[in-house]
Every structure is written in structure tokens, then in C-alpha cells.
């Protein structure tokens, strides 16, 4: 964490108090380290001058923060009304079958992981998902299969 201390300082400097920088700092650490480890939790708490329990509360509350590694490629599939009306639930089922994992799990080779989420704000391209950082819409089984094949190598 010490490597990106200057970045953290710059972030903290934008806010009226250090605690307010917690979310952006967590995003930064997760970006750099892939997840937020218990050690990082303590370091962040010390850096911001807040009790560790409150850092842990925040991490457990917000679904974008993770303490376990994700797959190299992550499916974050929407299951709310608009996507579900156009087959979102079936897409989720298909991914589970193809990869042999349940929502929240990663394939044993670490290549793919699946998360099921609520509305991502892209109902006009339903059924859709967030594929790593991108929004990918108008999904069907074929598109899913292609993505999996392309990234299995």
C-alpha cells in the first residue's frame, strides 16, 4: 500500500475530512491489489484515523468491494425487471451451466467468475451485464459462449 501513498494523499486532500475519502481509497486499493485484504483494511484504517471495524463495515456493505479474488474475467449479470423480461434469468442459468459455478463463485482455474446483480442502468440494451469494466448488452446464449471461448485460452 505504501507504493500508492501519494495517490491516496491526493485523494484525501480533496475532502473536508479524512474519513470521507474512505470509498475512493478502497476503490484505489482494490484497483491496485485486486481485492481488499485484512492487512490492507488495517492500514487504511490507520491511514484515515478511523476504527478498523468501521472500514470492515463499509467493505461488507457495498457490493463492489471484495475481499476474495475475482476471476480474470468477471460476469456481472443483471437480474432486475427489464433484463429479466428479456431473458436475463436464463442467461444467468446458462453461464452457471457452462462454467459449472454458482453466483459468487470462481472457476477452479481462476479464469471466470459470476456475480448476479440488480439494475445496472442499461435497460435499453437488455438483457445485459457488466463484463469486467464494459457494459455488454443484447445478450444471448451464443454471445456468452463466444466470450467464454475467446477467453478460455
Amino acid at each position: 500500500m505504501k507504493d500508492f501513498l501519494p495517490q491516496m494523499d491526493r485523494i484525501t486532500g480533496q475532502y473536508e475530512n479524512k474519513r470521507a475519502a474512505l470509498l475512493p481509497v478502497l476503490h484505489l486499493v482494490q484497483e491496485k491489489e485486486g481485492l481488499i485484504s485484512p492487512e490492507s483494511e488495517k492500514e487504511i484504517a490507520e491511514y484515515l484515523g478511523i476504527p478498523v471495524v468501521q472500514v470492515h463495515e463499509v467493505i461488507s456493505f457495498y457490493h463492489l468491494f471484495r475481499q476474495k479474488p475475482q476471476g480474470k474475467c468477471h460476469f456481472s449479470v443483471c437480474q432486475t425487471t427489464s433484463c429479466a423480461l428479456l431473458g436475463g434469468e436464463e442467461i444467468i442459468e446458462h453461464i452457471q451451466k457452462r462454467l459449472g459455478i454458482k453466483p459468487g463463485e470462481t472457476t477452479p482455474d481462476g479464469k471466470f467468475s459470476l456475480g448476479v446483480v440488480e439494475c445496472l442502468g442499461a435497460c435499453e440494451i437488455a438483457p445485459m451485464m457488466q463484463w469486467n469494466k464494459e457494459y455488454v448488452g443484447f445478450l444471448n446464449k451464443k454471445k456468452i459462449d463466444e466470450l467464454i471461448e475467446k477467453n478460455s485460452l
Binding site: 476504527p51 478498523v52 471495524v53 468501521q54 470492515h56 463495515e57 461488507s60 456493505f61
Partner: protein, 527 residues
Amino acid sequence: MPKLTIDGKEIEVPAGTTIIQAAEKLGIDIPRYCYHPALPVAGNCRICMVEIEKQPKLQIACYTPVANGMAVHTNSPKTLEARQSVLEFLLVNHPVDCPVCDQSGECKLQDYYMEHGQYNSRLADVKVKKEKKAFSIGPTVMLDQERCILCTRCVRFADHITKTYEFGVFDRGDHSQLDVYKQLDNNYSGNVVDICPVGALTDKDFRFKCRVWYLDKTKSVCPGCSTGCNMTVEWDKLRPHTHKKARVMRLKPRLNPDVNDYWMCDVGRYDYHFVDENRILSPQHKEELVSWTQAIETMAKIIQPLKDSKSMDKIGVLASAKLTNEDLFVIRKLFKESLNVSQVDFRVPEPPGHSDHFLLKADRNPNTAGAQVILPQESADAQQIIQKAKQGDLDLLYVFGHDLVKLFGKDTVEQISKKVKLFVFQSSTVNDTCGYAHLILPSAVYAEKDGTFTNCQHRVQRIWPAFLPLGESKGDWEILSLLAGKCGIQLNYKKSEEIFQELAQKIGAFSEMSYEKIADQGMVLKK
């Protein structure tokens, strides 16, 4: 000041008072879980919702300030319906653990349910399972996440009172879990069990020990240090055979805004076993059990000749700041005033205990301030008295409870045992000194006494006797009364209150005090 009516009763309260506080002043107890007078308001349980005339929605009483002309209804049909709905929601996932839960009988979920519940359950679904059930979170407390109703009292306690930040609520929705991030091992951990309205946080010390409906409660004051936290001794009157004859089951803090508020520390809370364990039960003379008559005679035989020859410098008395004001006054009356013994002191060289920034004081005696006023230092102090005893200059050494072996070392006590004609040891509890004393007199503990202690803020506080002294033990002043009588001094006290009345007359600091005025919140000494 705003004037309002609650359930038709009018009351005027300072601006800023919340409805729940105003109701309390009227003797109306609005149901509450998350609200606690000593903690910041959370407003999350929603059970204190009340109906306010001219307002379309129900409002939570713990957060809503009173307004002039407000009309509040705490039992209207709308209010009762809302209350029932909150109870129903809380019971959706709450495990029906009552048969195995220590909170049973003092559980707010049970109590409010019996008063207001929806007796026909509408639940046909599985309850949410949580990770930790019957899980130790520290040396004193057990956690059951499923029983937790997430009122966050414990979180606010650890954040604002002890500032130790052990607790947090993790995840969200109905999967929220109360947990600790680090072990709950601060000196006030026991208080979270008091404030938990349900059986989520339970005391390991009390776990499965006794059903609360068997408990009798007696008001008292903790004798653990000079703070004198107000507390209640809770003891099992009917079934001591189930606890190897132990009577005291637990101690609970009692509210006193001037001393300890709602809290007590773990050191005091868990130190009650000495009331029932390791007690001296009979008078003993040189390893032989004797009767009280014989014991008193033994002492009188030593004292009489000294009286006749006016050699009272051959008597040394080591009083104790653990004795009540009444005990100390009788020591003063008997030894100092009637027998003219000047070598009476309580200031033993005790190593101070550790203290914290809150309630626990380094002085581990409950009545140092009282002893200082009642037995002001004259000639010899305790160290000098021990020296004299060691040198053989004393015929009678009368020690009240101190473990001299710990304070002065085995060799000194051995010497004393050899050199002093009669080494009297009056104590409730067995300790190493017993092996060296000539005459052992069993005395009562605080929980068996009627009397007063004076705390470090010079507040005189009452203790009440929960039960009779164990075995043949007697109260300290009662023993001295017997001795006085045998020495021709009639003290004639029938109860502690009489002693206190005389004490209040004779000692300026206590003037105008009485048991009635002291009541259960205490009274400060005069300067």
C-alpha cells in the same frame, strides 16, 4: 416551556425533551429497543412509534421533540397496530430459543409480545440463518447473531461510552450481522449484556446458571473500589442447592447519575464469589472451634488487666477501609473513646490496583473517605502498629480482614504470632493470615450488612443486606458490641440506623444525614 398531553395527561417539560422522555416523567413507559437514555439516538427499531394528533404519519417517540400543544397517544388503535407490526417483523427471523435462552424472563421481545403481540403467527417461511450462534466474542460475553434484533445499542456503547470500537454491523438487509472485529475484552464488557434487550449478548458467567424468575434483588454498592458503583445483588433464595449453596448469582449496575450512571466495571461485576466461597464460618481459637461466648471471653481476659493497669498502649487495632461507616464508628467508640486505645489505624501499605479513565479507581477500598473522617490519624499508623507487634510491645493485636502475609511478609507475621499475646483476626474470608492468628472471628460480607460506605467523591451511599450472615459469622459492629458488653461498656445498638444517627450527631461532616435522606442515591458529606 412547552406544554403537551400524552394519553390525556398534561405535562410541561423543557424544550428539546423528546416524547419518550416526557412520557417517562408521567410514568408512561413507551416500548423501546434501540433507545437508551445514555446512548445517542438511533431510531431504527421503530417500536416506539406513537400517534400525534394532526400528523398523518406515526412518529418515533425517542427522536421527536415535544411541541407546545402537542397531543400524543401511546395506545391508540393505529399505534398498537404499528407496534404489533414491528414485533411481527422482528419475530420473522428471531429464533424461538426461549427454552435455552438466558434472557428469558427479562426479555423485551417476550415482554412486549405478551402485552401487544399478534398471537397468531403469519409466518410460513424459513428464517434467515446467521453464521455465529453461541459464539464467544471475548472472556465474558457470548454472541448469538440470530437472536440479535440489530438495535445497535452495543455498537453505540462501544463507540461512545468505552470508545473501544469492538462492534459493527456487517453486510446489509436481513443478512445484516452483528459481530466484533476484535475480542471484546475491555473492562466494561459486561455492560453490553445489560443493555442488550434480547438474548443476543449474554454473560458467560451467568450462562445457564439460574432462571431470572428465581432471583431476589437487593440494592447495594460495589465494594470493589472507592467509586462505589451503585448496583443490585441478585441472588437465588429458593434453590441454592442447585449452585452448591451459592446465593449470589450475579451483580447488576443500578442507575446513579452522580456516580456510575448505568454502568459498572468488570472487575467489580464479576467479583462476588467471595460472598459464598472461602468463608470463615465459625470462631476459632488456636485451631479449635469455639463458641462466640468463648471467643469473646478470650478477648475480654486480655483486655481487662490492661484496662486496670491503664496500659492501653499495649493494644493495637488495624481497622479497614472495607468496613462500613457504622462498623468504623463502633471501632472508634469502643477502642478509642471507651478504652482509650490510641493505636487505631486503617492505613495499611496496600499496593494500589490499576485504574482506568472511567469508573475503576486505584484505591480498592469502598470506604477510605469514611475511614478518614471517622478514624482521623492520631499517633501510630498501621506500619508502626505492626512494628510494635513484631517487637513484642503489644498484648493484643486486633486485625480487621487484612492479609498481613501479603502486606508485610510471612516472617513478620510469624514474629507477630510469637510475640503478641493475643492476635485476633476478624475476617469474612479465609486468607494466609488465618494460619498465624490466635483467635479467628468470622464476620459478615457487605451483602449481609446494613450500613453505608463513603465513596471517593465523599458521597455516603447505603447498602442493604440481601441475606443473613453465612454460618456463624456476624456483622463487624455486632461482634464489637458483644466484646464491649463483656468489657463493661454498654453500646445497646439494635440496628445500624441507630449507629448512623449517633454518627451523624457526633461527626460534623455527617451532620443532618439520615438513612431516609440518603435513600438509594446517596448524599455528599459536608465540607
